[in-house]
Symmetry: C2
Subunit: 378 residues, 2 copies
């Protein structure tokens, strides 16, 4: 173990209390002692992904957010509406650490060769609890960044890159021939376009603004449809008919979009087909992997009978493909870190700033093109 | 071929026209000549199932239904709203026969031994086009009814019995341990209770009226919850926790019910479990096999990530289990025809009466306890 490390460090925590309050604070936690195959990372860059916000903010009503602590030692409090408390039951009273992934310098290592080899190196890791000054992980949960890559370059090596890579992999595993992706101009969506273009996978991008269409067309995307357009359904059906896309990954989740995707897949499948009272028999699926819209998902009749929709979690996919499959994907991420998998951050903030009410409202808005990075060394 | 058969016979037809009209009529069709392995059935009993009404009525607005023909030779016409016409595109201009299943006497047979053996026998068949005076089918599509069973006894041997049997089969095939069923007091639901009690399959019945609760409790059902009750969600979660039911078959389709089932499955899975930010990892599925409610299906957040929902079609299940599996289920239906699989009809009507506007409104209302049988010999 390296000398000079503090006995305790700051870690961001989220807590739901019995009296229906969300509390966000910086806890002082004890510096852990690494086991043989563990390392301690000084966290220098950790992104705020939509998947982190689900845990951080939960069902809190952010219009009631206030700071009951100080600027440097904040304690944010928000009320949780009655309806939201049902989903929060299982986490009541537990002070939870946040932050799926991040990167930094290895400042302590266990006695194993694998751990010792990483001392002083810049690594990136997946494993939760990254919103803190330090994070201990097993060497199996981290990757050394390539020469010349900074912690900022490597902060987002897992969630978005592996999720983007998992979409065409899932498409092949489940027997589909093309993909649909929504909220498609996101960081993840841009990675997906680069992957699909490189690998020759037909992809229909769904966005909701003209400037998002432009971002994707500039990347070389062939099929981009705008859900705000009057001709959205016609455009979508046409793009699906051309690509034979019968598998969608939807980040929006709530509202009519998932149902519109299934309706359009069914309509495209019926073009030129003989009438069947039950519709097309080709399986059509929408995976909901995000909930940018927290209203209920609505699926109308008119989607035929061979439709399905369901939740999608990267973890389940990574379990399914096994160690060899995971290694293959990780190698590709490292090889294309500054090209395909480059992330662009618009804001870099400290841990205390992450708990500034106005700043929190800003990153929780998840605006296209905006991406926040926490740098706990600031 | 038997002598004495007419050259033509009446057959009920449904047609969607280019000018957005639904037209229902009785066509005169040519008596077919059976091939070697075909038989001709004089149809004496054919039920009106919800699955028949989808084809018969389609997107027609029945409040505009009028008879533009005569009483004995009706031509019912209804307007189809603009929104409904998209789903009707594939059947435009095609005069389609209706009626999934039925029973009657074999009055003509092809030269094969299998066909000849059925001459004069009472048989039941599946294969569409049963709403007519005669129906030709291959011997493989029919079953001879047991001694003493009438056409009325055997009219509904396929759709409801095989669907009910398919639910526990699917449960086992897909690794679930218990079932949830909605609109559970239906003919099909009653069969399902008898099957699940006999086979020891845990079943949660969801109904919406106290009298429906009583029907099922009188059959011996252990878990019956009422969706109209103030304590519906609590009752449902408790029943699911007790049965470990993670697979639902939903006949309602539209509205909040499918989402409530998934929410309750997730809540039941989390009772006593350690908190996971993504919810329970046990797969939870709702198959939507009917659309008693034609409004969109709504699925709220709070269902975790390991949820899915999708369409269910008996045909796909029967294909999946192969010839041997199908034969096993058919044998059980024949063996338990007057017990487990007995259907109760409240109304028996002629083909012309089936096209009486008021009668059509009545059977299209699909009220619990009401079931219509068409007898084309009347």
């Amino acid at each position: 173990m390296a000398s000079g490390l503090p006995d305790t460090f700051k870690q961001l925590r989220t807590l739901v209390t019995e009296d229906s309050k969300l509390e966000l604070s910086l806890a002082d936690v004890k510096m852990p002692t690494p086991g043989d195959t563990d390392i301690v990372i000084r966290v220098e860059a950790t992104p705020i992904n939509p998947s982190d916000l689900g845990l951080l903010v939960g069902a809190g009503n952010l219009s009631t957010l206030r700071n009951e602590g100080t600027k440097d030692n904040p304690k944010l409090v928000a009320d949780i509406p009655g309806a939201g408390m049902r989903a929060m039951q299982a986490r009541l009273g537990q002070s939870l650490a946040v932050g799926n992934e991040g990167a930094g310098t290895v400042v302590a290592a266990g006695s194993s060769d694998a751990a010792q080899a990483l001392m002083g190196k810049t690594v990136t890791g997946l494993g939760g609890e990254f919103y803190g000054e330090y994070r201990m992980l097993n060497v199996a949960q981290v990757m050394e960044l390539p020469e010349g890559a900074t912690a900022r370059d490597g902060a987002s090596c897992f969630v978005n890159p592996l999720t983007a890579l998992s979409f065409p992999e899932t498409m092949r595993m489940e027997g589909h021939k093309g993909l649909i992706h929504t909220a498609a101009a996101s960081n993840l969506g841009q990675m997906l376009n680069k992957i699909c273009i490189a690998d020759g996978v037909p992809l229909v991008n769904v966005v909701r603004k003209p400037e998002q269409e432009k971002i994707l067309r500039d990347l070389g995307a062939q099929h981009v449809v705008n859900s705000s357009s009057d001709t959205f359904m016609e455009d979508l059906i046409k793009a699906i008919a051309e690509t034979k896309a019968t598998l969608a990954f939807d980040a929006v989740g709530g509202g009519p979009l998932a149902g519109q995707l299934l309706t359009a897949m069914e309509a495209a499948a019926n073009i030129g087909a003989e009438y069947s009272r039950y519709g097309s028999a080709d399986p059509k699926h929408v995976y909901i992997y995000g909930r940018l819209d927290l209203s209920p998902t609505t699926i109308p009749p008119g989607v035929g009978m061979a439709w399905s929709a369901g939740g999608y979690l990267l973890t389940y996919f990574l379990q399914k493909i096994g160690a060899e499959g995971r290694e293959k994907l990780r190698k590709r991420v490292m090889a294309e870190l500054k090209t395909t998998f480059a992330s662009h951050y618009t804001d870099e903030i400290s841990l205390a700033e992450a708990l500034d009410p106005e700043t929190l409202q800003n990153y929780n808005a998840k605006r296209t093109g905006e991406k926040f990075l926490i740098n706990p060394t600031l």
